[in-house]
Subunit: 550 residues, 2 copies
């Protein structure tokens, strides 16, 4: 850094004004629900009185999670009413707005489109663009102006627990082409997109929500694999980039990318020439909070080259810390003004692309998902399925063995989910394998499933397995290949579906004899279950099977 | 019946008008969600296009289930916009509006107040009245004008799988006093109440959702036990009565109460002198549909003396059947006019008690639950707890063994539920016992829990068990008394909570040595968990324990 003489310094704005300017750089977390009592994660989601106060004090952004589409529409309007300035209201709607907000379109994970790109690049590009349009339009209609997507990480490491099927591709070329197409589609609808997680989180096998992953990659390797999708997204006009909580020792042996000046200012701003908005990933994540306090993390992020601070562990402390850093000239006012300008420009640009009447009228919320959106969702599901064998299940009674991460938070398995109802119609009784249930494991590596703990009869395995942030190992530590061998030996394998991880499917599929009905869907939601089971000969069950209600 | 000569007959209205009049008598089911894709029970909940058509054709009522309070507010307005007449919009909010619609107040089951009535009748009456006010006011603010409560059944049979803690009392005197107090409170807020299930469903051990229960009780016995709460509710001005799907052979050996003229016209209208609205219970229930078609069931219900037909299995068929019955004079126009008049009067009376601005403004939905409501909810929880022992759990690692009916539909166990987090903070690892998981049972009657399938260490048992419609046996078939003995023998019982059934608690509590922390809560929601665990010395855990999010 060059030494700055006092007379060169721009005078500080009045304290209150400086504080408001700094506050504008924060993006705090709220629940998409309207009442405090509905918050799913009260530790992370500020209560209404605090949200209201912080917005009144000038905080400039909110990231929302939870609630239905209708609630989100009411909530975003409420938040705007609590603020005197244009807000950034954003959400992690990487897989369609319906991934997070029920009632909107829930689309297949992007990697499914990436897989199509191998055989049908034009078709995949068109789907990625429509995926962007669908997501951007629904987001804007519900009051979001920030879509924290696309994931630009190249998922070249099948063990990645956190990126996985969220990525658009497993090669740089595919991820680049599809991420750019998504950005074009989404931003045309009047939202800003955010390419993430810079400089590339695809090759990690640790979860940065739990610890700080380290990568040895140097500049050359990054240029070959990690950077192209970010370059492509930027070339497509992507308004923002989100930083990764991972440490690239070759670029900066001291700090994770989020807090690294060599990465954010050196690589992203200077070398890649990115002039848009740089947003940190959530600073509450363990990789950051375990080493830095809320104030210091915010200052370091800003010092490194971030414009916006996402989910500081303590918003007031982050504001204090930044105000102090500007007041003492540790951070320059020039940088502050530049970040404020970038923020304003990004918001204005997003807004300028939105049709005049921006939010959905309340009476139209039931039709947020248009017939075109529904057709896209179905088309994405159909193109992404992979099935083999098509024969009826052996006659029941049998067992519909459903493996899932957490039955208490399982939006893809409502009471009437096809994965539950259709096997039931074939007299296959549901058995849920939740990691938190009584153990189904025998301890015998050759016959790992303790069959005496399950109902009798042939087993139809349905494995809902995918990498999910905070959820650990993506099921990779469970002995499914050995279970398949065990059930085949006993003649009790009735069929298999894998919903989520392509890598698990690829590990299991070669073991299956041709007669066994089996299939894979990258998506897990009911629409995908229905399509997959239909292809396996399990058509919609008789209504009676679902005959209970509250 | 007297013979009517043709010249005495009132002429039929024009066909289209007759159809509209008949349609007004129907109450059809919709989801509280706005979009078709969000329906939880698509078999029961009409899709929007059908709802819209039926309301345009004159259907007069809708029963709603599902969705948050905010969605319900939007939904009820939408339904009213689809209709040209005043609608009855109702819901089964027996335990507070929050029981069904998240974001509103979820209160303890009524039987908890009934239990208090033994020792503190005045306190119980006051709570029941406030319970009614809270429920009625929130219902009205969200656009409901019908509260399908109070349950007036006397729960004098602990094996009752369907009434159970929904009842206000286990004796006629208690149920009468509290049901009346609830009605006074709720109706004062501008909704109509509906006393159910006439002539009394408390003494059944079958679930009428699954089969038709039969009772031998004659007139005298009914007068002593079953009828007083209905008389009391009527005396308190209760606008409506709902019929029961159960057969009282002494009154009518041929038909269930819902379709029985001796029960509805003879007993309810003539003997009890009820001049308000009679509503059937849902006609889609198996007890009805297994024996009568949708048209015939509606005609029989009306012939028996019902005014409104709730959830016919097929609304169009029910309308056709009723139109035909009026056209052929099987049913009299006089009865039709009388039912329409009763409906109109009940709606008008409810509306006349509502303050001028009836629905909540959208921007106020986050504060639907007032501080008074929150205080009531807490007070109800506190008075209903029953604990013994107050000592720390043995040091972990241990097992937090949670027994529940259905982990896939478990609104009382969100990710941050105290029943999950607080034992985790004491290093007790959660193990979920879902009836649909791998069996935890050894087959040994003296040591029924297969401990080798569970994590090691002391066990803290949390039994969420209560009678729920359609859910069968209320856990009564599980060997919990033997499990307690087994764990005590092994020195592995760390503690016990029962949330729901007082009968299970009463069966287990005497077995416990005094040192073991143990407690009972009739309510299951997080508020009750927090209060119960606090009393047992498990205070709010450190925030870190809940440290994951989406």
């Amino acid at each position: 850094m060059t030494t700055v003489l006092p007379q060169d310094l721009e005078p500080l704005p009045p304290a209150a004004e400086l504080r408001r300017q700094v506050a504008r750089l924060l993006v705090i977390r709220g629940s998409g629900h309207l009442s405090d009592g509905q918050r799913r994660y009260p530790l992370w989601e500020l209560e209404n009185s605090t949200l209201k106060r912080l917005l009144a004090e000038g905080v400039g952004g909110v990231i929302l999670l939870g609630g239905s589409a209708a609630e989100l529409r009411l909530r975003s309007e409420q938040l705007r009413n609590w603020s005197e300035q244009p807000l950034l209201i954003c959400a992690d709607v990487e897989e369609g707005v319906g991934q997070r907000f029920e009632g909107a379109s829930w689309l297949v994970p992007p990697l499914a489109v990436g897989r199509l790109h191998r055989s049908d690049p034009e078709g995949a590009l068109s789907l990625a663009r429509r995926y962007g349009h669908c997501t951007g339009r629904q987001a804007r209609l519900l009051g979001l102006n920030g879509v924290l997507a696309p994931v630009c990480d190249v998922n070249n490491n099948p063990d990645n627990p956190v990126i996985n099927v969220r990525a658009w591709g497993e090669t740089a070329a595919t991820a680049s082409a599809l991420a750019a197409a998504f950005v074009e589609g989404a931003q045309a609808e009047g939202v800003l997109c955010c390419a993430k997680h810079f400089p590339g989180h695809g090759d990690t096998s640790d979860d940065s929500h739990l610890e700080l992953p380290r990568l040895p990659h140097g500049r050359e390797r990054l240029e070959a694999i990690e950077l192209p999708p970010f370059r492509a997204a930027m070339a497509a006009g992507c308004a923002a980039v989100m930083t990764a909580h991972l440490q690239l020792d070759a670029l900066d042996p001291l700090r994770p990318a989020t807090l690294s000046r060599p990465v954010l200012t050196g690589l992203l701003r200077h070398e890649l020439g990115f002039t848009g908005l740089v947003i940190t990933d959530a600073l509450v994540m363990e990789a950051i909070t375990s080493r830095w306090g809320a104030a210091e993390a915010a200052v370091l992020a800003f010092e490194a080259g971030s414009d916006l601070i996402l989910m500081p562990a303590d918003a007031d402390a982050a504001i204090e810390g930044l105000v102090e850093a500007f007041s003492t000239r540790r951070l320059s006012l020039e940088q502050l003004n530049q970040s404020l300008r970038r923020r304003e420009q990004a918001l204005a640009a997003a807004g300028s692309r939105a049709p005049a009447a921006s939010m959905a009228p309340l009476e139209g919320l039931g039709e947020l998902e248009t017939p075109q959106d529904q057709a896209l969702a179905r088309e994405l599901v159909e193109m992404s399925l992979n099935t083999r064998g098509h024969q009826d299940l052996p006659p029941g009674p049998g067992v519909n063995l459903i493996r899932l991460d957490n039955s208490l938070a399982c939006p893809f398995l409502p009471a009437m989910a096809p994965a539950l109802l259709r096997p039931a119609a074939a007299d296959y009784r549901c058995c849920l394998l939740d990691a938190r249930g009584p153990s189904p494991w025998s301890g015998d590596a050759e016959a790992p499933l303790a069959l005496d703990r399950l109902p009798d009869g042939p087993l139809f395995l349905q494995l809902f397995v995918r990498g999910n942030p905070f959820r650990g190992s993506a099921g990779a530590d469970e002995p499914w290949p050995a279970v398949i061998r065990q059930l085949l030996r006993l003649g009790r394998l009735a069929g298999l579906t894998v919903l989520g991880s392509p890598y698990l499917w690829e590990a299991l599929e070669p073991q299956l004899p041709s007669g066994i009905p089996a299939g894979y869907s990258p998506a897990q939601m009911p629409l995908a279950q229905a399509a997959l089971l239909t292809r396996l000969g399990l058509a919609a069950g008789s209504p009676a099977e679902g005959g209970f209600t509250d």
